[in-house]
């Protein structure tokens, strides 16, 4: 299994005890995200749908590419890959 680093965006850090990065093992992005949600319960429903898709207000990137343009949650994860979770953020500092 590959070891990947998942970058947790600030809006989701309440689910990771404040951690900005979590190291997780998995051979696909889906495996990594599912094991991440086992470590930090509550994260899953913020990122994944019940039908095991990515929620529409979140994008997952592996190696700086959107998994939607790759193989979705089946996209392979190589050793030391960095996975970004990017949620929609509205704030403009008003």
């Amino acid at each position: 299994m590959s070891q990947a680093t998942v970058r947790i965006p600030a809006p989701l850090r309440s689910f990771t005890g404040g951690a900005a990065e979590v190291a997780v093992e998995g051979d696909t992005v889906g495996e990594v995200l599912r094991s991440l949600s086992e470590i930090h319960s509550g994260l899953k429903q913020q990122i994944l749908t019940d039908k095991d898709g990515v929620r529409d207000f979140v994008n997952i990137f592996v190696d700086n590419k959107n998994i939607r343009s790759l193989a979705g949650l089946e996209s392979p994860v190589t050793e030391d890959a960095v996975i970004y979770i990017v949620p929609a953020v509205a704030g403009g500092g008003s």
Binding site: A10, P11, N59, N64, N66, V86, A88, G92
Partner: protein, 390 residues
């Protein structure tokens, strides 16, 4: 005969000449007419649609303007002598289809061919924008473009403050500012357009007061209202770029939808605590098909995942970084220089002091911007966000 007279005789044999009427006809068919006279001569009038490059910079600048060596070029001076020398130099560079306009601008004028008085920088403008004029990618022409440009700032808050400051300073000729809020004491930690004394006054009023003090020559238009489906097109129409510094999802989606529909580039920035996102949503960008905001985020998140700055907090300097990056993108788009963040999402993390660039592609099935998408009317954004907000 003088030496220069002899040389002109030689050049007349080496360089084809056309009459002013013929030059006009060729220009209409796509030939590039280049006026090589000095700025003070050009200031009194120059052929309509002509390119103006002073003789001294002709060889250095022609390739940027006309990269194709076989493109038909017509060179004009005041009377037809300097243009012969200029044509000879262009031939030396490899341009194969070069003609000199016999009789020059004098003949053009006496034939009643169309003339325009090109806008040039005033002495005060030349001084104010001298550091722009010195940059080859901007120059006098670029600065004139900025002065003729119109940018709309959505929000005069954290992001709109630095963007407004820099765009006004850069000489963007018309700056519109939309905001329905009033200045609050808690804004002053980051919204540097406003001042302590202006607490309680409308933000657009405060912004106009600050920006007109910085650059009194630009036109500032204020819209003290909330953008809605009903007013968005009337407000956006005529602007070259929209800089989104709004603070809520209904406005984000409305800005996106109106920009896509009207073909206006949407410079996007958003902030959360120590992190920011910047991109340019512009499906109509000519160099590559970019995504719209809905391609990236088809739906807004539920409210518990989307706390506002008031709830979540934000480092006061963060909008300074992100709003400034938005201003850079706006200027690049207006000038047509560099590579805009179209199809690229830039993440900034102040804590690790790092930038990350992520590729974002258009969604083939995007409900708003995909080919064949029928844009009829804007949805009810409050409802859209509330429904998806669960």
């Amino acid at each position: 005969m003088t030496a220069s007279g002899r040389r002109l005789q030689e050049l007349k044999r080496a360089v084809p000449e056309v009459t002013a009427e013929e030059a006009f006809a060729q220009q209409q068919r796509g030939a590039v007419l280049i006026d090589v006279r000095e700025p003070d001569e050009v200031a009194a009038g120059s052929p309509t649609g002509a390119q103006r490059i002073v003789r001294g910079f002709l060889e250095l600048r022609i390739e940027d303007l006309v990269p194709e060596l076989d493109k038909p070029l017509l060179v004009m001076c005041a009377g037809g002598a300097r243009s012969l020398f200029a044509c000879h130099d262009l031939q030396g560079l490899g341009y194969s289809n070069v003609c000199s306009v016999a009789g020059g601008f004098g003949a053009w004028g006496s034939q009643g061919l169309p003339i325009e008085v090109p806008r040039v920088l005033s002495d005060i403008e030349r001084e104010r924008y001298s550091r722009h004029v010195s940059i080859p990618e901007v120059g006098e022409a670029g600065q004139l473009t900025l002065l003729e440009s119109k940018v709309l700032l959505v929000g005069a808050g954290g992001l709109g403050s630095p963007a407004g400051f820099y765009l006004a300073a850069a000489g963007v000729g018309t700056l519109g500012i939309v905001d329905d809020d009033v200045v609050d004491r808690s804004n002053l930690q980051r919204q540097i357009l406003h001042t302590d004394r202006r607490i309680g006054t409308p933000k657009v009023e405060s912004a106009v007061s600050t920006l007109s003090a910085l650059n009194p020559a630009i036109e500032l238009r204020s819209y003290a209202l909330r953008l809605t489906s009903a007013n968005v097109e009337e407000i956006f129409s005529g602007y070259d770029v929209v800089v989104d510094g709004s603070d809520n999802f209904p406005t984000r989606y409305l800005v996106n939808d109106a920009c896509v529909k009207l073909g206006i580039p949407n410079v996007h920035g958003s902030i959360f605590r120590f992190e920011g996102q910047v991109s340019v949503f512009w499906p109509g960008y000519e160099k590559r098909r970019g995504p719209c905001y809905r391609c990236l985020f088809p739906e807004p998140p539920p409210p518990e995942l989307a706390p506002s700055c008031a709830e979540a907090g934000v480092l006061g300097i963060l909008p300074g970084v992100i709003g400034t990056l938005e201003a850079v993108e706006a200027i690049k788009i207006l000038l047509g220089v560099g590579d805009p963040l179209v199809g690229r999402l830039l993440l900034y993390d102040a804590l690790s002091q790092s930038f990350t660039e992520l590729a974002v592609e258009p969604r083939p099935d995007c409900a708003w911007c995909c080919e064949g998408a029928v844009i009829e009317e804007y949805p009810d954004y409050e409802l859209f966000c509330a429904v998806h907000g669960g």
